[in-house]
Amino acid sequence: MAVLRARKTNNEADQPSSPVLRFGSDKPLKLDAGTLLSPFQIAYQTYGTLNDARSNAILVCHALTGDQHVASTNPVTGKPGWWEVLIGPGKIIDTNRFFVICSNVIGGCLGSTGPASTNPATGKPYGLDLPIITIRDMVRAQQMLIDHFGIEKLFCVLGGSMGGMQVLEWASSYPERVFSALPIATGARHSSQNIAFHEVGRQAVMADPDWHGGKYFEHGKRPEKGLAVARMAAHITYLSEAALHRKFGRNLQDREALTFGFDADFQIESYLRHQGMTFVDRFDANSYLYMTRSMDYFDLAADHGGRLADAFAGTKTRFCLVSFTSDWLFPTEESRSIVHALNAAGASVSFVEIETDRGHDAFLLDEPELFAAINGFIGSAARARGLSA
């Protein structure tokens, strides 16, 4: 089963089961690394209908290991879309009303050009021959997708975590194309601690002998152990101590007593191993390296002479930021510093901090206060944009 899924992931890289937009040599993607990516492709999903005025489009930006299947069944895992609690017919983001677009980011592994995609120059997967991809590169590509739809201005761009970084980049790079922006549980830069966790993950992947310097496909292997460990470490950062304790405590896994060995005695160990194992079935190890790197490199203030407010100078975009009390990956202070910068830029900004013990991952869960905030923000923005209810 795992092998089957692995092959499926690999197929998705070149021939995704979602729509895909291919750009030939006449339309290369300019990368921050200083090179051009060409040809390249963007895999995406859409939900709902674009209105005649093309004013009801919402772009959803996915997080580190997310994909374009935001509100429909994932072809690899068979599970529901990753944000179906929020997006769909009659949901808070109502696809009967809005045209929702979500694309796999460049560097990803579900159909947009990434390290698992075939390098046309060699006929083999790119592996580490793919240039480093930045958040800005991802957004530049998304912008080409939006052009394809003939959309001048997006009604809203939203996303959490790495998706939130893309939202900030969108609002900063293309302010005239973003009517409202909703960055959730994110930061304007990756903190030293966050880079540290990512580095642990990358080293775990690279330490796996099956990684083969990134050329594992050519060896018929995949660094599953390394990637699983990377995911286990990362997963801890998505939760909180309180939530872990509430869910698992020191409970034992299918046993009455400690075994005095290194089996998964504790439920939390078993849970993390499961998280690691299921992750490698659906995600490409090299893509994980690229995704984590893109977040590490993100520093919006540095791109604007060290002053974050300058990233939003003169913006007309309406912002709403959301953070969670127990998120220690992107603590509230990260959002607050963005809010201060937006204030200094004279921007229209709302900011809510949601009380929850569910940590960073809270943005993906059913959080009534989060939904109330999104609902209020989207509703008032829609009125301001002249979109009927």
Binding site: N343, A344, G346, S348, A372, G379
Partner: protein
Amino acid sequence: MSVNRDQRVDLEVVANLIPPQSRVLDVGSGDGSLLELLQDTKQVDGRGLELSQRGVNECVARGLSVIQGDADKDLEFYPDKGFDFVVLSQTLQATRNPKLVLDELLRIGNRAIVSFPNFGHWRVRLSLFINGRMPVTKDLPYSWYDTPNIHFCTIRDFVNLCDELGATVEKATALDAAGQKIGLSMPWWFWNFFGQQAVFLLKR
């Protein structure tokens, strides 16, 4: 939100001072009543700053642009003259440094509107004078030990502070216990005695 919400007769007085389509920052927006009133009746471009997370979440759910923040700490992040009006309604007495806050309001807004409960009102004086107790009234329902209102002032005190900060009082209104405006012709001492709440329009 430091004063009993039902008693907010000052809201309309504040709203009447603001012309349509103004850019307004409401410091201490509470549950968003004033901002909503201003948006509905004056179509203002309104923003809010509110200390309590509960209030902020309520405001955002109502579609208002409000952020969580502290008037004592977060006003410094706003640019000079970024707003036509900065409103501080019934919040001054709950700030740690009212002088600094008022100074910031005058910096951020072309005009500042400040409303506050008058501690010089006769009931307050009477409570201290006769009972020897800190006053607890309908407007100020807290006991001394749990009140968020840590810097009360009288109308006279406030006028002095405005002088000190170089602010001009363009308009002042005092409301009596029934929420009625006290006649303009009355002298300050009369306002200070019978005004339960005061609303000031300031400029510097």
